[in-house]
């Protein structure tokens, strides 16, 4: 689709630019400011150059929470994307059940994030929670407040519970856009369900799945509230993801310089990854 060149279109964009710039640029500059200075309180600052960046990049604490974050994001993507596709493939195409499925599936997406954490906390508690009690009754010793593995598994299951529906709904929208003729043609050719999936359904879902991966990557990389409420980052530091660590440093210890440097590195990583996805997506759309 060709677009007309129109320099005046900027006028239409101005309100958005002002609103977002107010919220994005001023705080970002504040962070940049902190990241190169040292303060001992009372608003006295000293120039420190790149000291905080070096300190953060060399600290094993940052490396650990970064790796933890990568492992978490990787795991949830690997579970949620295929699971979402499979559920979407099995959903009815029309009829009264479609609305029922969609409404029930969308429900977790609209629950405030700390409520999600609190809900899973009481759901998984070993003594009074349905999940915790059942798992222990089966004979598996499970206590997510004390065992690192249990804490990890619980956090991941919680995220799968919370966000797989987003993938389902996106994939389902992609599937619904495939005209019936495609399936009839495949039927005449005697194509197997498997080849219908690879040759028709998956290519048609490519755009929406890119959005799904992009959104899930961004949101899982910034996850804060749910694990904070569920495990508080523990036991020990085992579920301290990047955001939780950042808030601990910035507000808990009030180390503004290192926290700001870490913020910028963190933001830069997210930006870089998203730029890659975004470029891929735009290339898809142009085709």
């Amino acid at each position: 689709m060709s677009k007309k060149t129109n320099p005046k279109a900027w006028i239409l964009v101005i309100p958005v630019v002002i609103l977002v710039a107010f919220n994005a640029l001023i705080p970002l500059m504040t962070v940049v400011n902190y990241s190169v200075q040292e303060t001992f309180g009372s608003n006295v600052f000293f120039w420190e150059g790149v000291k905080w960046f070096e300190q953060v990049l060399n600290s094993s604490r940052f490396h650990e929470s970064f790796l933890r974050q990568l492992a978490f994001t990787g795991t949830v993507l690997v579970i949620e994307i295929p699971l979402g596709i499979v559920v979407a493939l099995c959903m009815p195409k029309k009829g009264p059940w479609v609305s029922v499925c969609l409404v029930l599936m969308a429900l977790p997406l609209l629950i405030p994030w700390n409520v999600v954490g609190a809900m899973w906390n009481i759901f998984a508690l070993p003594d009074i929670g349905l999940l915790g009690h059942t798992v222990n009754a089966v004979g598996i010793n499970y206590n997510f407040t004390q065992q690192p593995t249990a804490a990890w598994v619980t956090t991941i299951v919680m995220d799968v519970w919370h966000w797989t529906s987003l993938v389902v709904l996106l994939a389902y929208a992609g599937l619904c856009s495939i005209p019936d003729d495609y399936y009839q043609a495949a039927k005449i050719d005697g194509a197997s369900a498997w080849s219908v999936f690879w040759r028709i359904q998956l290519p048609k879902m490519k755009n929406v799945l890119t959005i799904a991966v992009l959104l899930r990557f961004m949101d899982s990389f910034m996850i804060y509230t749910e694990p904070f409420v569920l495990t508080g980052g523990g036991p020990g530091n085992t579920t301290t993801f990047l955001s939780i660590d950042l808030v601990k440093i910035a507000l808990g210890q009030f180390d503004l310089g290192p926290a700001a440097a870490m913020s910028l590195i963190y933001f830069f990583v997210v930006l870089l990854m998203c730029w890659v996805f975004y470029t891929l997506m735009m290339r898809n759309e142009e085709q």
Partner: protein
Amino acid sequence: MASIMNGKKWLLPAIYILFLMLPIYWLLNMSFKTTNEILGGFALYPQNFTLENYRKILTDPTWYNGYRNSIIYVVMNTALSVTAALPAAYAFSRYRFLGDKHLFFWLLTNRMAPPAVFALPFFQLYSAVELFDTHLAVALAHCLFNIPLAVWILEGFMSGVPKELDETAFLDGYSFSRFFIRIFIPTIAAGIGVAMFFCFMYSWVELLLAKTLTSVAAKPIAATMTRTASTAGYELGLLAAAGTLTIVPGAFVIYFVRNYIAKGFALGRV
């Protein structure tokens, strides 16, 4: 073989939905129990059914004001985000202009900014402009991620509308603003509904910024919950009832947009 597979196909969504409902059921179950009963032991359903927790929330202003505050800033933010995003999305979908692609990506980067990065500077910024602890502060702050999303969704929907619509209207002598309000907005009403749904959703579920920017007057319900949970020695029944009530507005909104959900989640890009 294939027919057996087809016959059993509904099983997987059914199991998935069951998995989604279990924690919600548990929350509901706990909200009808007293805290003593909850801590007393494991039970699949309330033995002494009570509405006491709900009564307390609906009669105590520190509780129900939390809901009021949340709804006020969410509605403000939704209106603000969508209104600002409409003309911008139109510009992106119809015209080429200096720096358009860079601007679009810059907008999206704000959707990617981890709120934890911005929490402290936001507090300072909104204190400096004397908006701290107002509904407007939270509504404005949530624009950071809701405007880019709204622009993205609306741009997707608008690109699906043929350009001939605009051209014919201009030939018929419509001015831009008249065309936009009378013809274009009704045409993409579904897209606007979807964008509003998403703005509502993300503003409703976000807590970190909302909590940072408020103390008393505009405190969101979610923050009220955290405080009560930590100081009053875990009043689990009350916590569960408050949590259940936070699901209600979301459930309402989903019910109203249920027919657009599938299309809407694809952000107009299928």
